[in-house]
């Protein structure tokens, strides 16, 4: 149960990663740093007296514009270059964010301290923070789907993802669409970071763990496939939650990656198929 809830949040982070990859073939190595940044922006807004859940909105807005800016500065020029170029560029962005974060907040742990209600249901204890995070993750995902499938802009994003040249021939301004997509991907990463921050204490280096989880979740679900990424996140959360009672907790990671490798062996394009 816990695994399912936390898995939804992993899934949200993974969607951010997979969206950027699906639309522009960029593996965003700054993903983890941006997740950590989401945690700290939540901390800032919370420190300013805003309720953590109300703070999600400004975090999302900041995330979107940050994404657009990062795209314009670091990604736009090299988007047609070899994959290594964008790997290096996003890695550089990651180092810059972590560096600034370390200078501002050091690597000490921070904690969002707010009232959490606990519900007990037949032996299971669930905290309101986890429930709200999971519900928020689901809502954001629905929002993304609505955007992608029901709005003109969303259709343009999908068109660019499918075939950029064809979309351009149809008069779609692909550069703007790519910037918006990067912004949305970044926004999702920031949001998932902010949600994680309501659950666990964090440091500026915390993003790394969740970046790894995002990669695993999105590969599980099939790279470039947002639904798959969400399901991948849920699977990841479920594995973490359900194997623990039977084995030493230290082994969770081993089990997780063994399953990961097995799935890749039998479903090379991910469980739910990539969009390529």
């Amino acid at each position: 149960m816990d695994g399912l809830l936390i898995g939804l949040v992993y899934g949200l982070a993974a969607i951010g990663l997979t969206l950027i990859f699906g639309v522009m073939d960029v593996v965003n190595l700054a993903h983890g740093a941006i997740i950590a940044l989401g945690m700290f922006f939540l901390y800032l807004f919370f420190g300013a007296g805003l309720h953590p859940y109300l703070s999600l909105l400004p975090v999302a807005i900041v995330g979107f514009f940050l994404g657009v800016i990062v795209y314009q500065i670091a990604v736009r020029r090299i988007i047609n270059g070899p994959p290594l170029m964008s790997l290096l560029a996003t890695f550089a962005v990651s180092m810059i964010i972590v560096g600034i974060g370390t200078a501002l907040w050091s690597t000490s742990p921070y904690n969002i301290n707010f009232k959490v209600v606990t519900y007990t249901l037949g032996g299971y204890t669930v905290t309101s923070a986890r429930l709200v995070s999971a519900v928020a993750a689901v809502l954001v995902t629905f929002g993304l789907y609505f955007f992608l499938y029901r709005t003109v802009l969303g259709k343009a994003v999908r068109a660019v993802a499918n075939n950029r040249e064809a979309a351009e021939l149809m008069g779609i301004p692909s550069q703007q669409i790519l910037a918006i997509s990067f912004g949305i991907g970044t926004m999702l990463a920031m949001l998932s970071g902010a949600l994680i921050a309501t659950l666990f204490p964090f440091t500026i280096l915390s993003g790394g763990v969740y970046e790894l989880k995002s990669f695993v979740a999105s590969v599980l679900g099939g790279l470039g496939n947002p639904t798959g990424a969400l399901l991948g996140g849920i699977i990841l959360g479920l594995i973490e939650g359900s194997v623990a009672p039977f084995i030493q907790v230290s082994w969770t990671n081993v089990i997780e990656f063994v399953i990961f490798v097995l799935i890749l062996l039998f479903f090379p394009t991910g469980l739910f198929g990539g969009r390529r």
Binding site: T107, V209, Q248, V249
Partner: protein, 398 residues
């Protein structure tokens, strides 16, 4: 013309000062996971430096030496520690060493100090194993891990003789594992039934699965933990998930003042502590606990935690050894450390001279603290040993 005279004077003064210094080298985790603990420790060491230099320096055989510190950031990483300690010894030519923070890093630094035969005072490192390798130059300030949680077990037994089932859950790190293993053995001898004994990876953030296991085991009390980040996370989730525990004692994290950030989740959580500002020791060398606490507050605007006190104590021990040896010679200082038996503001200091455990701390004892609420404020109280307590133990906590 005037300027060049001044320069000359300055150069002469510098040269003079340089001849009269004793250099102490160490690394500090300014970044990485030990950042909070390690910087606290450095603050204590720096305060000792100011204190001793304020008195004109260390008195060694009729001469006075100013203390100079040489330190680098080890990023909480073992490889960095080895490189930097080699550098401190061979390039910076320091006279003595103080260890980095944490047992893991100190074990690495000890290898280097032993290779070069440099005396190293180890503070912030409680592992026993470092001292079971036949090293001759490493001396421990903290109560070792094997005795870290034993008084917690005594306290629990005194508070609730009827309680039998306890859980021992620890971070998979050198230090925490050593403490937990020793605590389990001690608890079993004391008649407890250890129903869960399990480690978690140091990077754990989601303790949900482990808390479910604790609940399923039927344990009435929990001892364990690891370092700051994981301990604070663990305590918060134990509270949120309403784990039905009568006592929670975690290593390290609750002993820090930052732990109060957790609010309600901190309430009732106990921890063994190497030192607390309220302890009543009458030192035969250096400041009293009150004097040290005052000095520290003045310098940093905060109440010192035990790591800062350990840093200051490490300096005092080196200072006393140099004074007794009447020389900066490594072998003579080492001999003085072997003979040392004193009480500092930090507590007793006596090192094992048995070749099988040379340098292990024998004189120092732990105190137990618990977070309690006083007038709406979270405060740390000493609850054990009874002779030193500032408040009664709250039991059960929920």
């Amino acid at each position: 013309m005037k300027k060049s005279w001044l320069m000359l004077l300055l150069a002469a003064a510098l040269g003079l000062a340089q001849a009269q210094t004793v250099t102490i080298g160490l690394t500090v985790s300014k970044t990485g996971k030990y950042n909070v603990e390690s910087v606290n420790q450095l603050n204590g060491i720096k305060l000792w430096q100011d204190w001793v230099n304020g008195q004109g320096g260390v008195q060694v055989g009729g001469k006075r030496y100013k203390v100079e510190l040489k330190y680098y950031d080890d990023e909480s990483k073992a490889q960095r520690v080895q490189q930097l300690y080699s550098r401190l010894i061979s390039q910076d030519k320091v006279d003595f060493l103080i260890s980095p923070y944490s047992s893991g890093l100190t074990a690495k630094a000890a290898i280097i100090s032993e290779q070069y035969g440099k005396v190293m005072v180890a503070t912030g490192a409680a592992s026993d194993s470092i001292f079971k390798l036949g090293y001759e130059n490493v001396f421990q300030i903290y109560t070792p891990a094997s005795r870290y949680l034993t008084s917690t077990v005594d306290m629990l037994k005194a508070a609730d003789p009827a309680l039998k089932k306890i859980a021992v859950v620890y971070e998979d790190s050198k230090f925490a594992k050593a403490v937990a293993t020793a605590a389990r053995d001690y608890a079993q001898k004391a008649g407890f039934d250890v129903v869960l004994f399990e480690g978690y990876p140091p990077s754990t953030t989601d303790f949900g699965p482990i808390i479910n296991k604790i609940k399923a085991s039927g344990a009435g009390a929990l001892v364990g933990g690891g370092h700051y980040a994981d301990g604070a996370t663990f305590a918060r989730q134990l509270f949120e998930q309403k784990a039905p525990l009568k006592m929670i004692a975690l290593l390290v994290a609750p002993a820090s003042d930052e732990f109060a950030q957790l609010g309600e989740a901190a309430l009732g959580v106990a921890a063994p502590s190497q030192w607390e500002p309220l302890v009543k020791y009458s030192p035969d060398f250096g400041p009293t606990p009150q004097e040290f606490t005052e000095m520290y507050r003045k310098a940093y605007g905060k109440t010192p935690a035990y790591r800062a006190a350990g840093g200051f104590a490490a300096g005092l021990v080196l200072q006393k050894a140099m004074m007794e040896a009447g020389s900066l010679d490594g072998a003579k200082v080492r001999a003085a450390l072997d003979k040392m038996d004193l009480t500092l503001f930090f507590g007793g200091i006596r090192f094992s001279t048995d070749p099988a455990s040379h340098g292990l701390q024998l004189g120092h004892e732990m105190v137990q603290i618990q977070w309690q609420k006083k007038g709406g404020q979270m405060v740390k109280e000493i609850v054990w040993p009874l002779a030193a307590k500032t408040a009664d133990l709250i039991y059960p906590i929920r």
